[in-house]
Symmetry: C2
Subunit: 335 residues, 2 copies
């Protein structure tokens, strides 16, 4: 059924059905599919009568560069970041839909690589989750919108607003490494230099993040009071959680030192000072770590590290020991 196109053929030279025929076999299947591709819409199971939904658009230029990311990396990353948003609600990811815009001169290989990356992300991070539908469009830059679904298994969703004074703040996943990886990529001057640093775990954290997807459900089943995906930096995201919960968050020296120690060997190796490392742990974006709060008497589930305490709402939303921390932000239209 799949036409025998050579590699290197562009989307503009193929019929839509032939493009789809090349992509579909590479996409992961969802165990929740009741009616899959081929109709105007798909039908998915929502066994507990609710579903979690999140959507994210990534555009070539502001969000990724093909000089840095292979198509497989691009597919993996947009899959992973959407799965992370589902996990942060305490839900198990069930399915994705994918809308892709591309210039007509785009090689079909690029779409195949993106499909492979989506498959790997689902297989490695959320087995059973798969792609149930999508759309292809012509666009001036490669553009991907993934919408992800999750199942809460009868539990209440974890929100940003549930943190209570006295709770422990705990994170799962790595803080800071993706931001350091981005800094390393910005410092490269040619394709050879990019290739030479791709072995670094910091660069891998930027190009192909592995958020702790399964730990979203772990947090939920072990009594976490709040959770969120750390996408814009620990301090900014913690300040959002603090405001939503009506509390303040205090990071302790030991907790932040522990988070820094997790990435220090490679970071030091790549020329980052101890001060740089702590700065990245606190502020750099795209870590996709899972920020949670747990009652103080709860033994933290495997994979979580305590980094501080929730206190009653004080003058500032976030403190580091007894110093307040400046809140610095991220704006999608200023980069």
């Amino acid at each position: 059924m799949v036409p025998d196109f050579e590699n290197g053929v562009s989307l503009g030279e193929m019929a839509e059905a032939d493009v789809l025929a090349r992509i579909f076999p590479r996409l992961p299947e969802s165990a929740s599919t009741l009616l899959g591709p081929g109709d105007d819409a798909a039908v998915l199971a929502a066994p507990d009568g609710r579903f979690v939904v999140t959507t994210d658009m990534m555009v070539e230029g502001p969000d990724f560069r093909q000089e840095w990311s292979r198509p497989e990396d691009i597919g993996f990353k947009i899959g992973a970041v959407n799965l992370a948003d589902v996990a942060a609600m305490g839900a198990a990811p069930t399915a994705l839909v994918v809308a892709l815009g591309a210039p007509p001169e785009t090689d079909i290989d690029v779409l195949e690589g993106i499909a492979d990356g989506l498959r790997l992300a689902c297989e490695q991070l959320a087995p059973g989750c798969g792609v149930v539908g999508g759309d292809l469009s012509s666009a001036p830059a490669l553009t991907l919108t993934v919408t992800a679904f999750g199942d809460l298994g009868g539990r209440a969703p974890l929100t940003r607003s549930g943190a209570q004074p006295g709770d422990v703040i705990a994170v799962a996943g790595q803080l800071g490494s993706a931001g350091m990886g981005l800094e390393l990529l910005f410092a490269t001057e040619n394709a050879d230099e990019v290739e030479s640093i791709k072995g670094s775990s910091l660069v891998a954290a930027q190009l192909r993040p592995h958020p702790p997807i399964a730990l979203g459900v772990s947090a939920s089943t072990t009594g976490a009071t709040a959770a969120m995906d750390v996408s814009d930096g620990l301090v900014l995201d913690a300040s959002r959680m603090a405001k939503a919960s009506g509390v303040s968050m205090v990071f302790d020296e030991l907790g932040i030192a522990r988070a820094a120690a997790a990435i220090a060997p490679e970071a030091t190796n790549r020329g980052f000072s101890d001060e740089d490392i702590v700065e990245h742990v606190l502020y750099s974006g795209e870590s996709h770590a899972l920020l949670t709060t747990f009652p103080a008497d709860q033994v933290l589930p495997l994979g979580f590290t305590p980094i501080g305490l929730v206190i009653k709402q004080s003058a500032e939303p976030v403190y580091f020991g007894n110093r307040s921390l400046p809140i610095r932000g991220w704006n999608p239209f200023i980069y």
Copy 2:
């Protein structure tokens, strides 16, 4: 809470939170929302343990032009076309999520207009349906991805594959007018000419389509055997239904004449010949009419017009009387 920005300010001059604060109050609320915006994901009700999902990307240039479409039209249209895909499954639309990419110099008024259009589309076409989440990105061209959800109310989904020999083919909504409207827009040479034809129902069908959303559920509850949204032209879409169902479709002269008569007064007025009109009814895209099949003994529900009969699979998928009809297509990467 909403900062006092002047109109005319661009996205690049505003913080993301301020952009969202301007958009959110304009968006329609969904009656199915269990947990709305403010967390990493939303939670929606899926009362029958399943949900219908479809996604669609529209990009400035190939899919719409700001010289023709006001922001409100753009929002209305992407809402309407996604609702039409949900309706074609026999489902009632419940909610949308919206990812929007825009150049940083885009005026905030444009996003507000798009939000207004989405609200009007939901209010007019699918009351109770609303926007439950979204994402903002920077992009080289205005880009909208809407993902829409629907509820089947315990019924089996309508698919393309259920048409049976002996069934009546029936359509709801208008065939051909949106394509004629597009032809009129292409023939304009300046903004004044565009304004002068906006009063035409043909142009309105192109810029702000009103698909018969509620009739998807009507079709399902009155025993339709198959349904699909006519987005790529009646003949091409009917050929897809014919192939999926393993049947052939025969349009009759009277049925097509009836569909043509529905748009003939305005079309004739705008210079289309009788032959042009039939050509548009058969082939032109974006009509978002609802193509259905019903058992022959079923009284068609209000709003449906018979246009032909399903027969056993023959040499061609689609006939007009006893002549076969050439299948002509649409490719998103060739336009």
